[in-house]
């Protein structure tokens, strides 16, 4: 697997515990509209992502991230920078 597909697989596995509706997770899946997450779920999920990849995803960055694919890109970029 490439780095990116590894990141995607890891992100997808971290989504699963919060995927109450059993939505199929793809690059295009949107957190708000498709997964229907509220702010507290987002906090818990972001905390798990931050711990897994040892990065900070600030609220400013979260505002720019709508889809799973965008999150994978952001995580890859942040992990490389650190």
């Amino acid at each position: 697997m490439t780095d990116r597909s590894q990141t995607f697989a890891k992100v997808a596995s971290l989504i699963e515990p919060f995927n109450k509706k059993g939505v199929e997770v793809t690059e295009q899946t949107r957190f708000a509209q498709d997964l229907e997450w509220d702010s507290l779920t987002v906090l818990d999920f972001v905390a798990n992502i931050e711990d897994e990849f040892d990065v900070i995803i600030s609220m400013n960055m979260q505002a720019e991230i709508e889809t799973v694919g965008q999150l994978v890109d952001a995580v890859d970029r942040l992990a490389k920078a650190s």
Binding site: D44, A47, E50, I56, S58, M59, N60, S82
Partner: protein, 400 residues
Amino acid sequence: MTDLLSKFDPLIEQRQALLDRGVTDPFNLTMERVESPTVAICNGRRTILLGTYNYMGMTFDPDVIEAGKKALDEFGSGTTGSRVLNGTYQGHRECEAALREFYAMDHAMVFSTGYQANLGIISTLAGKDDYIILDIDSHASIYDGCALGNAQIVPFRHNDLDALEKRLKRVPEGAGKLVVLEGVYSMLGDIAPLKDMIRIAKENGAMVLVDEAHSMGFIGKNGRGVAEAQGVIDDVDFIIGTFSKSVGTVGGFCVSNHPKFEILRLVCRPYVFTASLPPSVVATAATSIRKLMHGSEKRAHLWENSKTLHAGLKKLGFMLGTEEPQSAIIAVIMPNLETGAAMWEALLHEGLYVNLARPPATPQGMTLLRCSLCALHSSQQVEEILGMFEAAGRAVGCIS
């Protein structure tokens, strides 16, 4: 034309649905007359007030009222100007002197409201490339202060030491760090483990701001707040507070020992670009603050009230926001907004006013009946209040 208000349609519908059930609008109550810090006339009925921030009952203090009247006579009804132009009167200076003495700190800066104090200080301290690490349950004014600035905003789970530490350690080398905490969180009435949080913040090179709005005058030996009670006030870089709670009027402030603090008066936009407080308001605030320095007996009675109400509500079978009383706020958790509104109305009919609190103000989507006690509630009033909760709770079916 796109109607810019159409985005509020879901809220308009939710509100209408609630009112259509025939309940009194919980967000539109009028106090027709106010008899004292603990009693008002609402809808023609004598009502015990258990949903104000009048913790120390200073609003009708004779010395406070007298000071306000005198200032109104001598200095007029308003300043019509900014603190940095024509809006700093002798009274503003005296009010800041009272704050410096109250907190035993070097600097004090008075804002027109507590909201503006958070808005101004937070947005001015943390600029682009700095990081603000804040508790997720922070007050709206803290979030708005973050939004007004350009810093990176990093929330952590409420009162979670481990989550705070992890985030601090991940902030890039060299970036400025401001940790923002509150002494008392006003929705559930719980306090923060400031001693450990401030230690962690300092170990990781962060400056610390603590909002002590709901603890001033009441918590700590001298009423300086939770940081004083936990013995760490000297490690706090900035304390934010308000005159609209224990002080009993309106206004906000920041106190600090930072040697460069005074420059903030020139660069803090919510301080500069608004009119200063009226002379009567700063005169009442200064008088009230000085009286709060000697309020230890009132503080003791307020703790008694808080303990009695907490124990009584628990015994009746209500679910409360904290296991033990931690402040003057006791939050009763309601299963949903409908039951909360029904209970709120039943209490009002009994002659008791509490705050109905709901999202987005509340954490985790909760509906709360928030009770805040006053040092001037008599022990007998607290017993009356418990009787009203029992009657309303049974009528609505909240308790068996």
